[in-house]
Assembly symmetry: C2
Homo-oligomer: 352 residues x 2
């Protein structure tokens, strides 16, 4: 059980420390933690946000725990040297094509959402976002038009097999939940979306126990505000998934509490290889102050135990400890409380 520990930038190291404490407290036999640099932290040392050393480590491990990347010091760099490129590089290099983002309000924390409590309290959804295709990874560049102007372009595309593999993940996810899957696209405008929709319908035939519906992305953004509780599993492409999953996280009211898993097809001796990270970013403004909420990072470790190591009981134990600590008032500044990073970690450890 080799785990790559990639704290990254900003608050990454602080919150990672708490996740590591929680993992160690479980005393899992055979667990090895291997540290690596990523993002601005790697760029400072190796001149690249995702250097060969880190790539080698990623390949050698069974799962990756990823903090956050991003540092204002890198704002002026060329795009391929910026910290966020490490995230894109990791996803592509390890073929992590399925991003799972659960969104659910923790009991007692409904009041922290800007949605009315009864609306926020009803949220319990899972977004399955494709992570290896779309306009993210198509050819892109700057060209000159016939009349001599600069023009930026990015090619959006999906092939059948790319859609099919994420469709299977989504249908299986829906099977393990309520059996309702909503596929989000913009098929009234995009050919890419038309193919997406066609393949979703094809794959649906293999899952007669799942009800598939289709929704345009503009309507989905609307429904996620109006009645987010109506959604169960949502599957969508890389770009729409980026937007909708952040929107859904904020509906829950607490971006500091939400974890994510990025999975590929690669099976290790223990389960599916994957990378696990909080949904929030590196928050440079509060970095190093011991103020960051480590809950999303700790819950990312729980998702890792579940998906990459098949340790469902241990994952559930961490999740219960987090819910217990939150309910007992282990709240940081992001939730109107006074606890710091370490204290919240202590509270979770105590509840384990």
């Amino acid at each position: 059980m080799k785990i790559a520990i990639l704290p990254g930038d900003g608050i990454g190291p602080e919150i990672m420390a708490e996740a590591v404490r929680v993992l160690r407290a479980l005393e899992l036999p055979g667990m090895e933690l291997h540290d690596g640099l990523v993002g601005a932290a790697a760029w400072r040392v190796h001149g690249h946000p995702l250097p060969p050393e880190t790539l080698a480590l990623m390949h050698a491990c069974d799962a990756l725990l990823f903090g956050a990347v991003g540092d204002p010091a890198c704002d002026g760099l060329e795009r391929h040297l910026r910290p966020e490129q490490a995230v894109l590089g990791m996803r592509k290099e390890l073929s992590l094509f399925a991003n799972l983002r659960p969104a659910k309000v923790f009991p007692g924390l409904e009041a922290h959402s800007s949605l009315r409590p009864e609306v926020a309290g009803a949220i319990d959804l899972m977004i399955v976002r494709e992570l290896n295709g779309d306009v993210y990874f198509g050819e892109k560049g700057m060209r000159t038009t016939a009349d001599g102007q600069r023009e930026g372009y990015d090619i959006m595309s999906y092939s059948e097999s790319e859609v099919r593999r994420i469709a299977h993940v989504a249908f299986r996810t829906a099977q393990g939940r309520s059996g309702r899957l909503c596929s989000v696209d913009k098929a009234n405008v995009l050919e890419t979306s038309q193919l997406w929709r066609d393949v979703m319908i094809e794959v649906a035939a293999e899952y007669p126990d799942v009800t598939l519906e289709h929704m345009y992305v503009d309507n989905a953004a609307m429904q996620l505000v109006r009645a987010p509780g109506k959604f169960d599993t949502i599957v969508t492409g890389n770009l729409f998934g980026d937007i909708l999953s952040d929107q859904a996280s904020m509906c829950v009211g607490s971006i500091g509490l939400l974890a994510s898993a990025s999975l590929g097809a690669q099976q290790t001796a223990f389960g599916t290889k994957g990378a696990y990270e909080p949904i929030h970013g590196s928050a440079p403004d509060i970095a190093g102050k011991g103020l960051a909420n480590p809950v999303a990072m700790i819950l990312s470790a729980a998702m890792m135990l579940r998906h990459s190591f098949g340790l469902e009981a241990e994952a559930a134990r961490i999740e219960a400890a987090v819910a217990g600590a939150l309910n007992a008032g282990a709240l940081g500044a992001d939730l109107g409380g006074t606890m710091g990073t370490r204290e919240i970690g202590d509270a979770v450890l105590a509840a384990l």
Copy 2:
């Protein structure tokens, strides 16, 4: 003052009837209304959702009042024959590149938002959406990959001049409001967005009285839930604008109340030529029942008087009548009331 009246499909004709009653009640000298078919209504008669007859009318008029298009009977048609293509065709044919979508809660209606009343009540923003470029109008199609699979593709692009003209509209809009402009892009991933951002910064130099900030689209979707009241003017591309403006409309709680203007560069004898339409769709489920809320359509007529005919006082008069009628309880089923389309129209007319 030639106005094209294009009711379209579903509830379009019913709500258009009320907007026309309100316009006639103003007894504007020289106002001519010219009826045309669009959407499924045009396809039924002419075999195309935007036939030459309608295009000729659009070109001949100074402004267009557009109801809504969309009809389930057209679901199986090839894409270019579907009703929504009429909207895209109109925007392109008339070079309507700037879509203005105000979002503001009507006093007393805060409780209809799924956002908490104090969050919803603070919303007063204007989205300026580019409408003639982006992945909407780039080359698109279905191709076969080297290994024989289908692949859908759509080219996203923006040229300098396309970004510059919408930038000017946005900066001028911000000048007329609070002087704060937020440009939304995904410049950490897209070259199109990088050009967008570069040109926004260039144009900003001409508007020293406007403060420009940049936000990634995923973060914008999040902030529109967390604290929509913090935004004033937002400018963004066609695709992101489609998503964010629908999201913002729903934050207001009442998609049946919001209007939009689509403007180009063409000046008529009276003002800027434009098309005006509600943000909501054709709502086939309630079509023909007299249940639809005509307010968004009536407010679209007000926007037309303001932008295409320079009739600010008349526009404000309609808006005040609508606010008065709503405040006095002229609510349809969409807002928990019992009034039908005609009764709401009566209430607005009475308040004029």
